[in-house]
Subunit: 380 residues, 2 copies
């Protein structure tokens, strides 16, 4: 029998939390970073290679999968885990964010949103109930409520309206989720309210009263400065129930991750490590490194010879530079892998630091290493 | 101490040969297929994944590597094996074929060829001696002489002139190679002569008199019908010394490989499995399968559940179709891997068949399976 979804807080250090959650497809240690598997694949990586980076859970995008190949198609093929040969947990978003960012001709009302597919121009309807149904068809371990996500800056009026609508959609999502209830699966709510702390507080309180299995903070990393994002996180996280996981959606850089964990966040997803990897950028203990830069052309050293991941230890900077300049697929694959491995190494470091109540020291050391910057270039 | 390069003929079945050659980086069982690592990478595959397909040797392209990152650069970085993290044997071509197919503004004379780089427009000179020097800098286990390669059809006069020039360049290549001699490394000559059997015979005889460590048949698979290619192979191979490996350059389809092995060829290279894989085509025991075709969209079956390679057994046709339609890198990576694994499976099957003197039966069974075609489509 499958265990029900559960979250356990193991240790805290200030506001930072070391925890674990259990799903139908296994356990996940938090703070956790979820690689993004947009279209049923973490771009360029075989599933085993995703696991080897240390990932215990990936994210799937409802918007993309509902349009192609279709949720009913994936269900008929045995669900998303089987479709993409990923046996560990999957969280799916609700599609709301991509409807905002990728489709045009949106029409939003109380019932839901109608939009034009970016693939074939077809008109598609998404409601809170349909978003839950799709995520059930995909077989998500963690489903997200449909919300209305705004770009910042936005007017106070728009932010309030979208937050209130998202609250009503949260209720409908919960009712719908309970009718599709599957053992070991969870539904998370999404706190909205833009950069307005009063609205964020109201959203968090009302969602908490509805009692979800986890809470996301959405509508951030959409154009606002980092300090605004961190301020919202710092004010919102303490209002959320301590015994539930907290997920900061779409964030972020390594620096964002540390600052958000410090403020009580347990889960993250972001396309940065894979997207930037496809464009020649490596994330490392020494900060971000642009492999397209000519200073790497003759450098025989690997990106990080102390990395726990073989790809970061094996291939020379000169080789990665060559692959990047030659626009070789393998360059994209290797840098995506190396970046995901660094993100996981960073999360593991934070987990260990929190467990030992040394989060401040960990942060200081990590930031100091970034600030010292990359290894000095070799004279050629 | 490194063993010298050697070739051993283990068994024959008709004209088909089962053999083994030994290089500074290990042994290779023949007939062998060499995946093409054009720019220092078998496109999209990590080196370990190339090995897992069963490949024991890869090909590197002198033309591409001399232009970017440069042969001296690779030598300074420890050679091509280290650069691309491929510990097994590497054969490099001489650059002649790509000069013909990729560069414009060629000027060819007795000394060599001058051409304009397709990358930056720089004028670059390649002579028989420089081609050998470059391949020594790369650290190739097997180097190829520079030759003049024509597109077919070509005039009898042009074919004769190019063949005679290639013979003189073979002599110069050999002298140059001997001055760079490295234990365990070999130089192969290239038989030219287009579709003129008398010229092919003259080329093969004169090269044999010069005594190379292996012999390639070049200037084929450049536009002529398959029967012309096979006729040239059938006439040329028996003239070459039995105790030296024979390499048919740039060939080919699975059917080409079987027909050429039957006529006494030991080694092949071709971009088809990786290039076609990047465009949604799979090579399988059931023939070529176009994954972009809608008939695969709902098909839960793998490409070949009896394949020795996990990628061909694991991912559904529906998933591969989805990745192909969505233009996902992973689709290119998986199909390239699956295709290389099928090519290696085919070579292993031929080796076993020759050893058991059952080559005709093997060929009949393989061709019958291709002719029966793919599994019937599922009704959807």
């Amino acid at each position: 029998m499958t265990e029900p979804f559960s979250f356990r807080l193991i240790k805290t250090d200030g506001a930072a939390r070391r925890g674990e959650f259990v799903t139908a497809h296994g356990r996940v240690q938090t703070p956790a970073f979820m690689p993004v598997g947009t279209q049923g694949t973490v771009k360029g990586l075989m599933p085993d290679d995703v696991r080897t980076t240390g990932a215990e859970i990936v994210l799937g995008n409802t918007y993309h999968l509902m349009l192609r190949p279709g949720a009913e198609r994936i269900a008929a093929l045995g669900g998303l885990h089987k479709f993409m040969s990923w046996p560990l947990p999957i969280l799916t978003d609700s599609g709301g964010f991509q409807v905002m960012s990728l489709s045009d001709l949106r029409k939003l009302d109380e019932r839901g949103v109608t939009f034009r597919s970016h693939l074939d121009g077809a008109m598609v309807a998404l409601s809170p109930e349909r978003a839950i149904e799709i995520q059930a068809l995909l077989g998500a371990d963690i489903s997200m409520q449909l919300d209305e996500c705004l770009r910042l800056p936005a007017s106070a009026e728009d932010i309030a309206r979208a937050m209130e609508l998202s609250l009503r959609w949260a209720e409908r999502s919960k009712r719908s989720f309970e009718s599709h209830a599957r053992e070991g699966h969870a539904l998370f709510a999404i706190v909205q309210g833009g950069d307005d702390l009063a609205l964020r507080t109201k959203s968090a309180r009302e969602l908490t009263n509805m009692d979800f299995q986890g809470y996301a903070i959405g509508g951030l990393a959409v154009g606002e400065p980092q300090e605004v994002m961190l301020k919202v996180v710092a004010e919102t996280a303490p209002i959320l129930p301590a015994e539930r996981p907290r997920y900061l959606m779409g964030v972020g850089t390594p620096h964002d991750l540390i600052e958000a964990v410090k403020r009580g966040i347990d889960m993250f997803d972001c396309v940065l490590p894979t997207r930037n990897g496809r464009h020649g950028m490596a994330f490392t203990r020494f900060g971000a490194i642009n492999l397209a830069n000519a200073r790497h052309a003759a450098d025989p050293r690997p990106l990080d010879e102390q990395s726990p991941h073989p790809a970061a230890r094996t291939y020379s900077r000169a080789y990665l530079h060559h692959l990047t300049k030659a626009n070789e697929i393998l360059g994209q694959v290797l840098l995506s892998t190396i970046n995901l491995a660094y993100y996981q190494e960073l999360m593991a470091g934070m987990r260990e630091a929190i467990a030992g109540r040394k989060f401040s020291e960990f942060q200081a050391a990590a930031v100091a290493q970034w600030d010292r910057g990359d290894l000095p270039a070799l004279s050629s």
